[in-house]
């Protein structure tokens, strides 16, 4: 079973330039610069059906193809390394373990859209990754993979590391651009899309770390190879993760489309002794719960959507039978309320309200009317009513918890206490 992104990564170590080159690193860059036009690189990525691994799952090649090719002035390529979706720990692995794979992917992507300036937007907490990337950048400059006239060709690229100073909002594409411009990380209206008017008003592509790390492999081995890695129509491998009360929490690079059951049982080693599976968020905090009825769902973009959730980041958070679903959702809504940028009213006002209602339920002060209010919020803060995807994402676990764990909510109201009683807030 091939795992192109991670099979070369040794636990606790980071591949330096020499090790990366010895494994065939930067050959894709040579190939593209010597044999391919930028348009051919974009066409190849489109053909591979690589879909964005940051959560939204948009076609990467399609995204690139919106960048105007014959414009004067700078263009930008940005790696979104602001991994902050609760329950998500996949990009950390790639950033710490194989920084040159990301850098080569970024150079190739920048070449495809003819960008000359690039940034890695790295979250504050990833201290080790910052050290590793800084070193890798200086190695890449020294070897002539970055800078002017890369490999003697008519293509130049500068690359900088930007480390953030907190806030989940920075992971939202347009808010990330505002933050890079030194502003508050609030979202921008779309259109214009960043591909046309992004950083400092210039065409910009923002891609996730996992997405970018695939690019050298696809350039080397082709679109058909990439498709063949997957069990389903969504191409490639995927880094999946499982956390919660399982025996072996962790992350694994597997063919796209492995089932939830395989992840839980074969990789995460099943539930811990004394705990039973009740449900899981399949791809981070802002995805709908799936339950034991969905365990045979292939974990790809299409099938998880058909099951009523989203693949998101592919890192699953498990709800066990001894953890209160109301408390679980309260923890999530606390996060979302805190991280709302406050820019649009439904999100700024609605999220703290849902947090307070859930807290009241947990404290035994909830009423039937509160359940109606929660239900209403899932619509009022849903898609189309807010400026960005934060609040609609926050409503996904809530609406599905109300659907699948209704009896727990009712029990909190009727018994005037949390029946689990083992977690505080």
């Amino acid at each position: 079973m091939e795992a192109p992104l991670t099979s070369d990564i040794q636990p606790g170590l980071s591949l330096d330039l020499r090790a990366y080159e010895a494994l065939g690193g930067y050959q894709a860059l040579r190939k593209a610069l010597q044999q391919m036009t930028p348009q051919e690189v974009t066409a190849l990525i489109k053909e591979s059906n690589l879909r964005g691994r940051g959560g939204a799952g948009f076609s990467t090649g399609m995204k690139w193809s919106f960048v105007p090719m014959n414009v004067k002035g700078p263009k930008y390529l940005i790696a979104n390394a602001d991994e902050m979706e609760p329950g998500t720990f996949k990009d950390r692995w790639l950033l710490e373990g194989n920084p040159h794979q990301l850098i080569e992917g970024m150079i190739l992507s920048a070449y495809a859209i003819q960008a000359n300036i690039s940034f890695v937007f790295l979250r504050w907490a990833y201290k080790e990754a910052a050290v590793v990337i800084r070193k890798a950048l200086s190695e890449a400059y020294a070897a002539g993979y970055l800078g002017n006239n890369i490999l003697g060709k008519d293509f130049s690229l500068e690359m900088h590391l930007h480390t953030g100073v907190g806030r989940y909002m920075c992971g939202e594409e347009t808010a990330l651009l505002n933050s890079l411009e030194g502003k508050r990380a609030v979202p921008r209206a779309k259109p214009p899309f960043p591909q046309i008017s992004g950083l400092f008003g210039h065409p910009t592509i923002v891609n996730n770390v996992e997405t970018l790390s695939f690019i050298p492999h696809i350039v080397n081995k082709g679109a058909a190879w990439f498709q063949s890695l997957s069990r389903t129509g969504d191409g490639g491998t995927k880094i999946y993760g499982v956390s919660g009360r399982v025996n072996k929490p962790g992350a694994w690079e597997l063919p796209m489309g492995v089932t939830m059951r395989e992840l839980l049982e074969d990789y995460a080693g099943g539930m811990q002794n004394g705990y039973r599976f009740r449900g899981a968020l399949p791809g981070g905090a802002s995805t709908d719960f799936l339950t034991s009825d969905h365990l045979d769902t292939p974990m790809d973009f299409t099938a998880v959507a058909a099951a009523g959730s989203r693949l998101g980041t592919g890192t699953m958070v498990v709800l066990d039978d001894q953890t209160c679903p109301v408390g679980f959702v309260h923890n999530l809504e606390h996060f979302f309320a805190q991280e709302s940028c406050g820019f649009c009213t439904p999100c700024r006002e609605g999220l703290p309200w849902t947090e307070k209602i859930l807290y009241a339920l947990e404290q035994g002060h909830g009423t039937e009317e509160d359940l109606v209010q929660l239900e209403m919020h899932t619509h009022l803060l849903g898609p189309g009513n807010t400026f960005c995807a934060l609040a609609p994402g926050a409503m996904e676990p809530l609406q599905s918890a109300l659907k699948y764990f209704r009896e727990d909510f009712e029990q909190h109201v009727h018994e005037k206490k949390c029946p689990y009683g083992n977690h505080t807030h």
């Binding site: 201290k127 100073v165 907190g166 030194g182 919660g244 709800l319």
Partner: protein, 154 residues
């Protein structure tokens, strides 16, 4: 007043951006690195250096949770309070920290040694519960190893 070191580091960052304002987050980081927090006077100095109003700088500074606009201790403890850590019982870690340090979230110990803050997901959910002290990440925590971790910091 900003030091010469701070000013030259900020000037260096200005080379990468087309407008001076765009370096404001870097400037706040540079000042905080030297002084542990950013005072009103620092905000005004950064504003003057970058051609912004002090309010504009402050609106950015107060937006980001890891820019400290109040003094903090010599070491800052960030406790992950997000979902995987919560499921894995992070409350016991929080309780132990508060008992050992005799402070609550947002407070600094009277000797100025530690500031205690909650922080969203640290991205190490397969090793929950987790926390950071300054640059250092600690994972797979239980109540018993908290004291040992604190002992490493003067």
């Amino acid at each position: 007043m900003l030091t010469q070191t701070e000013i030259s580091k900020i000037e260096h960052e200005l080379q990468h951006v087309p407008v001076r304002k765009a370096a404001v987050i870097e400037a706040l980081k540079i000042v905080q690195e030297q002084r542990r927090w950013v005072s009103d006077e620092n905000v005004e100095d950064i504003a003057a250096l970058l051609g912004m109003s002090a309010d504009e700088v402050d609106s950015v500074a107060t937006f980001y949770n890891l820019i400290f606009r109040q003094p903090v201790g010599r070491h800052v403890i960030l406790v992950c309070d997000s979902i995987s850590c919560w499921v894995m019982g992070y409350e016991n870690i929080r309780k132990t920290l508060m008992e050992l340090l005799q402070i609550k979230y947002g407070q600094t110990t009277p000797d100025g040694r530690f500031t205690l803050l909650p922080n969203p997901c640290l991205g190490t959910c397969d090793h929950a519960p987790a926390l950071m002290v300054d640059q250092d990440l600690y994972r797979d925590l239980n109540e018993k190893n908290i004291g040992e971790i604190l002992d490493k910091y003067e």
